[in-house]
């Protein structure tokens, strides 16, 4: 089991599109993925769970992966954060 902390860095936070990108990415892997924010824990492959987190810009998220490809999941997730979730500017 490995974990890593990230800070939401795109303009509007994990709204529908970035959240879906996240879930699509984690769903490609066999490992289980959990997201923990202030003690609240959700399934990292559930978009509804992600939306319910309401993670706005600057939110700190701990991501825990557990399984055969746990390292790959985390590096794929890290890549999403590096790319700011490819978020184009949508509204102010």
């Amino acid at each position: 089991m490995i974990e890593k902390t990230f800070i939401i860095n795109n303009r509007l936070g994990l709204h529908a599109r970035p959240a879906s990108l996240f879930v699509k990415t984690t769903s490609r892997f066999a490992s289980s993925v959990k997201i923990i924010r202030d003690g609240q824990e959700i399934d990292g492959k559930s978009i509804m769970g992600l939306l319910m987190l309401a993670a706005g810009p600057g939110t700190e998220l701990k991501i825990v992966a557990d399984g055969p490809d746990e390292n790959d999941v985390l590096s794929a997730v890290g890549e999403l954060f590096n790319r700011h979730f490819d978020d184009d500017i949508e509204g102010e």
Binding site: A16, M48, L51
Partner: protein, 587 residues
């Protein structure tokens, strides 16, 4: 005639006939599923999921064709909601353990999610509940064999009246046939509202029961400015709105015509009208609105919401892009203006929280305390300066020592670059923001060390009057027309002009307020930098007044016996100016 109020979601006036979409809210039946039927109930649910998925894939493909990738991505999110463990697993679990029908089980899960989301403080996230509701409704429709009358049946230009317009619905809106809409639910940032804004059609949302008050074919007015829907308007109201609509059309055309004209008063006094931007992508939009360059490039956005500060190369690329896009006009880059609370994002740990951040470590103070961050930014700016015309300015300077310290670092960075034979613009202008009263009072001395000044009115007013305008207890004391504020601006301009003829601009909100612009002109401000969207309006104000009038107005306002009297004088001036020239309706 009935007038209903809601939330203004997209500006404009639509006049036409109503097309009422069938109400989404259907009563959810509940029945007990006998043990032996549980399996087939789950199968019924899975079948409905499959049908919903087919429907969404079809919409997705259509969206891709018609609206492009970003809207299709939204349907992607819908498909993910449909496949979500909450729905694919938990609904089935409820059916299996509590022996209820699929409609009821699904509604329970949706309701539970919505309840959590309704409590969000962030409006944007709160409004995302509509996405989940939309998916839920689709599945319910397939479960219950209930098909919605689609927007496809609209044949003539109509105003759509609906309980809610979902992304699916808005994608089905026919260009040209939808001239406006009103919905029962939704907030300012719900999908429907954002869509209306991007389609620039008037819309009012959150009207609660508009669907039950309007019938298809009713003549109707949607006032997206005041958030009103007027059903079966009487002749006088209709006339008034028609005139308003006409005026808006005219005003828009007139503002467009202004784009390539100079910001010059009727008696030939020329003002530089520039725009404030947050990312290099905004430059194009600013220039297309008629801005003559960028008067304030806030670089904070580059630094925010990320784990580590952008490196020199990334900053260089951003500044370079901005200066190239703005060419031949200049770009004024303001160095990092962050508060101490953002230090962790810059990779500085062990910062103690401040009890009064507005009087704490922010702006140039922070940069001087952590010079490495500052040097990196200056290097990136200098390197980009060969690509066009860059000017740099420091925020939050409160006195001479800070200014000298900042300039010393700039010199150090410059000689470093010279040593490495990296080219940069040796004559790059250096300026400072005037937003702390102590700086405004010392401009005659500071002017010897800079090339220009830019007044940040928001902070200058806040610090001068000791008023936090977000604090509703004192917000009314935030007065741009306070004599102390006007005197500080006046003094800054005079001192700047007198000592070495340094130019003085205003980049705060005051410059964007049409009513206040004549005063800034009268105070001899050389440059106004405003939000890109405000450029045409400000230009119109400048072009419709004379410098002599502005100067007289400013004298009168500064001699007024009270702020209230000053406001009265200004109001009188604005109304007489408006009377001379037809302008868009303002309320």
């Amino acid at each position: 005639m009935i007038t209903l109020t809601g939330v203004a979601a997209s500006d404009g006036i639509a006049i036409g006939q109503a097309f009422v979409l069938e109400d989404e809210d259907v009563a959810i039946p509940r029945w007990e599923v006998p043990k032996e039927r549980v399996k087939s109930e789950v199968a019924r649910f899975r079948y409905a999921l499959g049908r919903t998925k087919d429907e969404m894939v079809a919409i997705h493909n259509k969206a891709l064709k018609v609206f492009g990738k970003s809207h299709a991505k939204l349907m992607d999110a819908y498909l993910l909601i449909l496949n979500d463990p909450f729905i694919s697993k938990d609904v089935v679990k409820i059916i299996e353990t509590t022996h209820v029908n699929a409609e009821f089980a699904l509604t329970q899960i949706i309701d539970r999610t919505i309840k959590v989301m309704e409590n969000f403080e962030d409006e944007y996230f709160r409004d995302r509940k509509y996405d989940i509701l939309d998916v839920g409704h689709k599945v319910l429709r397939h479960l219950m064999g209930h098909e919605k009358k689609t927007l496809q049946s609209i044949l003539e230009p109509s105003i759509i009246i609906a309980h809610n317009l979902t992304p699916t619905d808005t994608m089905n809106l026919k260009e040209g046939l939808t001239i406006g809409f009103a919905t029962n639910i939704g907030g300012k940032t719900s999908h429907a509202a954002l869509m209306a804004q991007s389609m620039t059609i008037p819309a009012v949302v959150g009207m609660r029961d508009v669907t039950s008050r309007v019938r298809t074919g009713d003549p109707i007015i949607v006032d997206g400015h005041d958030g009103l829907v007027i059903i079966r308007p009487d002749a006088a109201t209709l006339e008034r709105y028609k005139a308003d609509q006409h005026r808006r059309g005219e005003a828009e055309r007139r503002l467009e015509d202004l784009r390539d004209l100079p910001a010059q008063t009727t008696d030939g006094h020329r003002i530089t009208l520039a725009a404030n931007i947050e990312t290099s992508d905004d430059v194009k939009m600013a220039l297309s609105h008629g801005a003559e360059g960028i008067g304030l490039f806030r670089t904070e956005f580059l630094f925010l919401n990320r784990r580590s500060s952008p490196n020199e190369e990334e900053q260089y690329q951003s500044y370079r892009q901005a200066v190239r896009a703005s060419f031949p006009y200049p770009v004024i880059i303001r160095t990092l203006d962050l508060g101490g609370d953002k230090l962790p994002m810059l990779g500085v740990s062990d910062v103690s929280p401040e009890s009064n951040p507005f009087l704490g470590l922010r702006g140039i103070r922070l940069c001087l305390k952590y010079p490495e961050i500052f040097k990196m930014q200056l290097r990136a700016i200098l390197r980009a300066s060969t690509e066009g015309k860059i000017k740099v300015m420091y925020p939050m300077v409160s006195g001479l020592d800070e200014l000298r310290a900042a300039n010393a670092i700039l010199q150090e960075v410059k000689s470093g670059l010279r040593g490495q034979q990296v080219p940069f613009d040796e004559s790059m202008e250096v300026g400072m923001m005037v937003e702390v009263p102590s700086a405004a009072l010392m401009v005659d001395i500071l002017a010897r060390e800079v090339d220009f000044f830019s007044i940040g009115t928001n902070d200058l007013i806040q610090y001068t009057l000791a008023v936090d305008r977000v604090n509703e207890n004192v917000a009314s004391l935030y007065q741009p027309l306070h004599l102390a504020v006007l005197r500080l601006i006046d003094q800054t301009v005079k001192a700047g002009h007198n000592i070495g003829n340094k130019w003085v601009g205003v980049c705060g909100e005051m410059a964007s307020e049409a009513d206040l612009v004549p005063i800034l002109v009268g105070l001899d401000i050389d440059e106004l930098s405003v939000a890109p969207s405000a450029v045409p309006r400000v230009k119109e104000v400048i072009r419709s007044t004379s410098y002599a009038e502005c100067a007289r107005l400013t004298r009168e306002v500064m001699n007024a016996s009270s702020v209230e009297a000053a406001q009265r004088i200004l109001r009188l001036f604005s109304t007489s100016r408006i009377a001379q020239q037809p302008r868009p309706a303002v309320s």
